[in-house]
């Protein structure tokens, strides 16, 4: 209805409606900032942050008033919302820039060979050295085992959903795969704690609960499984049906068609999904904290004794009271982010080479 209401200044006789000149925005911004600075600093109720915030609010109001006077209310609303939407982006970029900057500037302090080649064994509160070798080993082993468990399970599950699944069972599986993506990582950790560490592992360990890297890998598997199923399923659905039909027409059995035709066609997409889920799992802290136990020493055996991981290392160093631990935490965080981002970016680049598109 508002759309159809005749607006005088929009449909006024001439072809040219009055437009706000381009310099009006800049002028409003300057006036708003000056006014806000005078107001805030004059009354002494805040610092430059408040000046900027209040200036932005005044700018929006002033700009709306100016546009309202010159171009009419509809155009004024349009311009204000456009400004709001643009400022939302600036607001989102700010924390990202801050995280990136502090991560790099604090992370390079300990970015040396010693950090990557030593563990925290026998490192006291007064020792400046010590490193994350044990944590890197732990992360790689846990994520690797989790990937070994999850990739076959996830890909086969997705094959079932796409190629075989009919009726209520596959609907239920699909629904709960989606629901499972939302399970908090700490719940996955508690599950493996209750199931593996407290009930199953005592059977192999003289009745004592055994915290281990393998338990952490199990917890990560619970988190990775739904994402792998989901992404693989999406990719398999993109494989054109004529490819399958061609194989069937040549008398190829269905299982061979799937393994030889469908999977290879969708492979780049499947690998992308797997890499993304590995990247996410590598950054998980909570499950590792609960079931791997954490340790300062190097432990290559994921099945016995406590293990650490990079994210757990960041957590424990960040909450440590030693004066040297923040530097270690930042460097470990930088390493972790580098690992995760390299995986993510590689996955995205691989996705670009994927010829199956929607």
């Amino acid at each position: 209805m508002t759309l159809l209401a005749p607006e005088q200044d929009v449909t006024a006789g001439s072809l040219h409606t009055k437009r706000l000149p381009a310099w009006a925005a800049l002028a409003t911004a300057v006036v708003a900032l000056a006014l806000s600075a005078a107001l805030v600093l004059g009354t002494g109720i805040g610092n430059w942050v408040l000046v900027v915030v209040l200036g932005a609010v005044l700018y929006l109001i002033g700009f709306w008033l100016a546009a309202n006077a010159v171009e009419g209310p509809r155009s004024a609303r349009n311009r204000t919302w456009s400004a709001l939407i643009h400022s939302a982006c600036v607001l989102a970029i700010l924390p990202l820039a801050s995280v990136t900057w502090t991560l790099i500037s604090n992370g390079i302090n300990r970015l040396d060979g010693n950090f990557f080649l030593t563990s925290m064994n026998n490192i006291g509160a007064r020792d400046a050295n010590g490193g994350a070798y044990h944590a890197i080993v732990g992360t790689l082993e846990q994520v690797g085992i989790a990937a070994l468990i999850t990739i076959p399970l996830g890909v086969l599950g997705a094959i079932y959903l796409v190629e075989y699944g009919r009726g209520k069972l596959s609907l239920a599986i699909r629904f709960f795969v989606d629901v499972m993506t939302g399970i908090p990582s700490i719940v996955a950790g508690l599950f493996v704690l209750a199931f593996w560490v407290l009930i199953v592992s005592p059977l192999f360990n003289n009745g004592q609960p055994q915290y281990s890297g393998f338990a952490a890998a199990l917890a990560l598997s619970v988190l990775m499984l739904p994402t792998i199923v989901r992404s693989t399923e999406e990719m398999l659905r993109l494989v054109p049906a004529p490819l399958r039909e061609g194989a069937y027409a040549l008398g190829v059995p269905k299982w061979k068609t799937i393994l030889r035709i469908v999977i290879p066609t969708a492979l780049p997409g499947i690998v992308t999904g797997i890499m993304l889920s590995i990247a996410r799992a590598a950054g998980e802290t909570a499950p590792v904290l609960l079931v791997a136990g954490g340790t300062a020493a190097i432990n290559f055996n994921p099945f016995e004794n406590n293990q650490s991981s990079l994210s757990l290392f960041v957590f424990s160093q960040a909450t440590d009271s030693s004066r040297f631990s923040p530097d270690r935490a930042w460097t470990a965080a930088l390493t972790l982010v580098a690992l995760v981002l390299i995986l993510t970016i590689a996955a995205k680049l691989l996705a670009r080479r994927n010829r199956l598109t929607r």
Binding site: L3, V10, G46, S75, R77, N78, S82, I85, H86, A88, C89, A92, I93, P95, L96, S98, V99, L156, G157, Y160, R166, L169, A172, I173, F175, D178, G182, I183, P184, I186, V187, L190, F191, L193, A194, F195, L198, A241, R244, E245, Y248, P253, K254, K256, I258, G283, T285, A286, L289, S311, V314, F315, A318, A329, W330, A333, L336, V340, T344, I345
Partner: protein, 355 residues
């Protein structure tokens, strides 16, 4: 929503429906030759074997699929079985008591305070994050130049990939400074509002935790809403513009109503993530078991942060108690996620019918 025309654009981007018909056709054509019931020429073809590669492969994939259901059920079963002994030993009401003294002698614990903290921090995080996320989603889908949109979308995806422990570290050692200054300022001028009262110390507060949480749920809500906004039928947008709508009026009358179910689902998924977030909150909150509306004083605790912080010194009963609280978290997030998924599925069915 009733006036939405058929969505040819979405037919290929939609869910299972559009494709499963094709897959079903393919399946039927493959099963055809193997069954012998009166199909022409069927008798000359090999009979379906009961123990061959095909049934074996089928069974293998089916078992993998069923694993998902098994895991969900197993999570509930094992959490309950470990929680029961601790709940039996508990001296107080688990649901209404608001302190956490879970040790073998005289265990008294309850989830009132931690559930309150969980919900409060998640709600504040969403109140901050959702408007910004929707703004960015609209910017990416309708306002930005295509190249900028691709680039910024990529950055937002990377933001989603940053591990939560990094946000926790950043919140704990960097973001706390501006938040503390802001809290002091709020307390100075607005202490008459209960939210901003108190005498300090400020900093490790619900406010800090919620803001860090907001940054973390932002990418999820953004990318999901951007996707639904992009699916708005071009005809709807062009019709609005042809009627003389300004860009914002087009967005309000064509894009937002169309995307509403998707946005609701995105917010619910963000809520699920915010409720379950552990490490970032364990590193930023000040941990106090007081139910208060004050958001700027040191304190605040959530189910997940309580588990992460309390696990180290927990004995058998303590572990059971934490597992019991984890069960509550599991139930809450399960319900939230199921609601979100049902909304998405309904919408998907609707769009498939329309297509």
């Amino acid at each position: 929503m009733g006036d939405t025309p058929p969505r040819s654009v979405d037919a290929s981007a939609g869910g299972p429906g559009a494709h499963s018909t094709r897959a079903a056709g393919a399946a039927a054509s493959s099963d055809g030759p193997t069954d012998n019931n009166g199909r022409g020429g069927g008798s000359s073809l090999p009979r379906a074997k009961a123990f061959g590669a095909e049934p074996a492969f089928r069974g293998l994939t089916q078992a993998s699929g069923i694993m998902v259901l098994v895991i969900i059920v197993a999570i509930a079963v094992f959490l309950i079985s470990e929680a029961i002994p601790a709940l039996r030993a508990n001296q107080e009401n688990f649901f209404t008591f608001n302190e956490w003294h879970a040790q073998s002698s005289d265990p008294r614990f309850g989830i009132a305070a931690i559930v309150f903290g969980t919900v409060l921090s998640a709600v504040i995080a969403l109140v901050v994050a959702v408007p910004i996320a929707l703004g960015i989603a609209l910017f990416l889908s309708h306002y930005a130049h295509r190249r900028i949109a691709t680039w910024l979308g990529f950055v937002i995806d990377l933001l989603a990939a940053v591990p939560s422990v990094v946000f926790g570290l950043w919140g704990r050692s960097v973001f706390i400074e501006p938040v503390r200054d802001f809290s002091v300022w709020l307390n100075h001028y607005f202490s008459w509002i209960p939210l901003f009262g108190g005498n300090g110390p400020f900093g490790n507060s619900i406010l800090l935790g919620s803001l860090v949480l907001a940054i973390m749920v932002l990418p999820i809500v953004t990318s999901l809403s951007r996707e639904v906004f992009m699916q708005t039928p071009k005809q709807n947008e062009e019709a609005a513009l042809a009627l003389g709508a300004t860009k914002w009026e087009m967005v309000r009358t064509a894009v937002l109503p169309y995307g509403r179910p998707g946005v609701i689902a995105a917010v619910m998924l963000g809520l699920g993530r915010a409720l379950g977030e552990t490490i970032a909150l364990a590193m930023t909150l000040g941990s106090s078991f007081i139910i208060t509306a004050n958001v700027i004083q040191n304190g605040g605790v959530t189910i997940a942060s309580n588990i992460a912080n309390g696990f180290g010194e927990a004995d058998d009963i303590g572990r059971g108690a934490l597992i019991a609280s984890g069960l509550v978290l599991f139930t809450i997030t399960l319900v939230v996620n199921m609601i979100a998924r049902v909304i998405i599925y309904r919408r998907r069915e609707f769009t498939d019918v329309a297509a």
